[in-house]
């Protein structure tokens, strides 16, 4: 058996010498198209095809980002946006985890709460904005609550369906060992529902970003969303595009963190490895 295991390792070692690390190779492949597009954009801007007051060249956008970095405003806006997102994301996730676990596990709780939650889900979350502003003003609380509401639903739905989709056969194993309800939940149900919980977290994060923008567009004096409005009001397209780029970068980073968490905690899953 040991020999069989050893053989592929030897091959792997050889391949490493011959070829570039596959993950680096993937990054390189993925960046070909964006780089080409940016070069074309820069070129077309320089020869005047794109009017600079509508679509400035990438170099100008980069310059505006650099200025913001040096005068410190980039960090101020980014940190406040991240702060709102993280806080709202945490509140939304914790609420979804607790309510979702209860609804998924106890059928009485399900019939008690699920219809109501489904009804609330059909309200477009942005429709809450006026009410939240009326209740909590335009300060931080209304923004955080709006983000939390946005995050709540995808996480909740995924937890509930994750728990309800658990193989009854695994739960029976726990019952044979006389597990208490708490042991069943902590040792079988939660780990088994973890994959769909993580899927929920990632789509929750996506919605969280959407609602950060919404909240900051609505009324804020700081944040990347505010920069968007500010850029629009001051006719500064490079500021708007810079903010969009910032959103893209931050969204990608936060998603990568969750993705890393996912691969780290779900390495036991027997899923197809893409070639």
């Amino acid at each position: 058996m040991k020999e069989v295991i050893a053989i592929p390792k030897v091959n792997e070692g050889k391949e490493k010498h011959r070829r570039i690390n596959p993950s680096i190779q993937r990054v390189l492949l993925g960046s070909i198209v964006p780089i080409l597009l940016i070069l074309a954009w820069e070129y077309l801007s320089r020869i005047g095809v794109f009017p600079p007051h509508l679509l400035p060249a990438p170099s100008i956008i980069l310059q505006s980002l650099m200025t913001m970095t040096t005068d410190g405003s980039l960090w101020t806006h980014t940190s406040i946006t991240l702060y709102r997102l993280v806080l709202g994301f945490l509140f939304g996730t914790v609420a979804a985890l607790i309510i979702g676990a209860a609804v998924g596990y106890f059928s009485t709780v399900e019939s008690l709460l699920d219809p109501l939650i489904q009804a609330f889900r059909s309200i477009p979350s942005l429709a809450w904005v006026p009410l939240f502003i009326l209740w909590m003003g335009i300060g931080e609380p209304s923004k955080v609550v709006l983000i939390a509401v946005g995050v709540f639903f995808p996480v909740y739905l995924n937890i509930v369906s994750g728990i309800q989709g658990i193989d009854r056969k695994l739960i029976e194993v726990g019952k044979i060992y006389h597990f208490s309800s708490w042991q069943l939940i902590s040792k079988i149900i939660l780990p088994a529902a973890l994959p769909s919980f993580l899927v929920g977290l990632r789509s929750g994060l996506g919605l969280g970003w959407m609602f950060v923008v919404a909240a900051e567009l609505m009324g804020a004096s700081t944040g990347i969303g505010y920069l968007l409005v500010y850029g629009q009001n001051t006719y500064a397209p490079e500021l708007i595009i810079s903010s969009i780029v910032l959103f893209a970068i931050l969204g990608k980073i936060t998603d990568a963190i969750l993705k890393g968490l996912e691969t780290k905690t779900l390495h036991w899953q027997d899923t197809i490895v893409k070639k």
């Binding site: 058996m1 194993v173 006389h178 079988i188 390495h267 036991w268 899953q269 027997d270």
Partner: protein
């Protein structure tokens, strides 16, 4: 040790399950339960394990009437039912309230999985996974072991290996075993007594005692005669259940 007194469990349509089963099992005895499909063999084990509580009659373990999952009972299912997020080691220790390392190591050795402690279930073959399930059931030292067609999903060679493994473990730990199977050879190879269920709902039709010492030869002539007898008892030629 274990006695089953007029236990019935039928389902709403009244034709599946079993009825009026009386059975007394001695300490250390291996009982093989045979029957055509639909006669309630698996349901009987679910009732005994305490997973199915909607039955009539009494199940008595060591003089104590039980109506729930019992500590003295261990169960091995048709599928391994391992927790995919736990390594072999943790899967084996799954039912222990306190993970005693030496105990888990002892059973890893007993089922021949030394070196595989840190594998995840996805990396195991069917036979290895079922070995883990056997170790998981034994590690809590159950006095009565219920097996529900435990080897039916395995290929013929793995099946024979695991039957021998089960026999070894039985000789070491002397647990009482109830083995539901549809494999007559398996029952003849392992059981001290074979119970035949027939009908829908299933009823106890015949009991056959096998006095041969174990391990037995798989090609034993007396067993071949018994196999013929059992085939006739099961009346496979006229059975509607197939």
């Amino acid at each position: 040790m274990l006695s089953i007194e007029r236990v019935s469990r039928t389902f709403s349509n009244g034709t599946t399950g079993f009825k009026n089963i009386d059975l007394k099992v001695e300490q250390g005895e291996v009982i093989g339960i045979l029957g055509t499909s639909g006669c309630g063999k698996s349901t009987l084990l679910r009732v005994l394990s305490g997973l199915d509580k909607q039955y009539d009659g009494q199940v008595v373990i060591d003089g104590e009437t039980v109506h729930d999952v019992h500590k003295k009972i261990g169960m091995i299912f048709q599928e391994p039912r391992l927790m995919p997020w736990l390594k072999v080691y943790d899967n084996i220790g799954f039912g222990l309230q306190k993970k005693v390392q030496s105990k888990i190591a002892q059973y890893i050795k007993a089922v021949g999985l030394v070196g595989f402690e840190n594998h995840y279930p996805k990396d195991l073959s069917g036979g290895m996974a079922q070995r883990v399930a056997i170790a998981r059931a034994l590690v809590t030292s159950p006095e009565i072991l219920l097996l529900d067609e435990p080897f039916s999903a395995l290929d013929a060679f793995t099946k024979m290996q695991l039957q021998d493994l089960l026999l070894n473990l039985w000789q070491t730990y002397q647990s009482t075993i109830l083995l539901v199977t549809h494999d007559i050879d398996e029952a003849l190879y392992l059981a001290d007594r074979i119970i035949i269920l027939r009908g829908q709902p299933g009823e106890l039709y015949q009991e056959i005692k096998i006095d041969k010492s174990k391990p037995r030869s798989r090609g034993d002539k007396d067993l071949a005669v018994l196999k013929d007898e059992i085939l006739q008892l099961l009346d496979l030629s006229h059975s509607k259940a197939i």
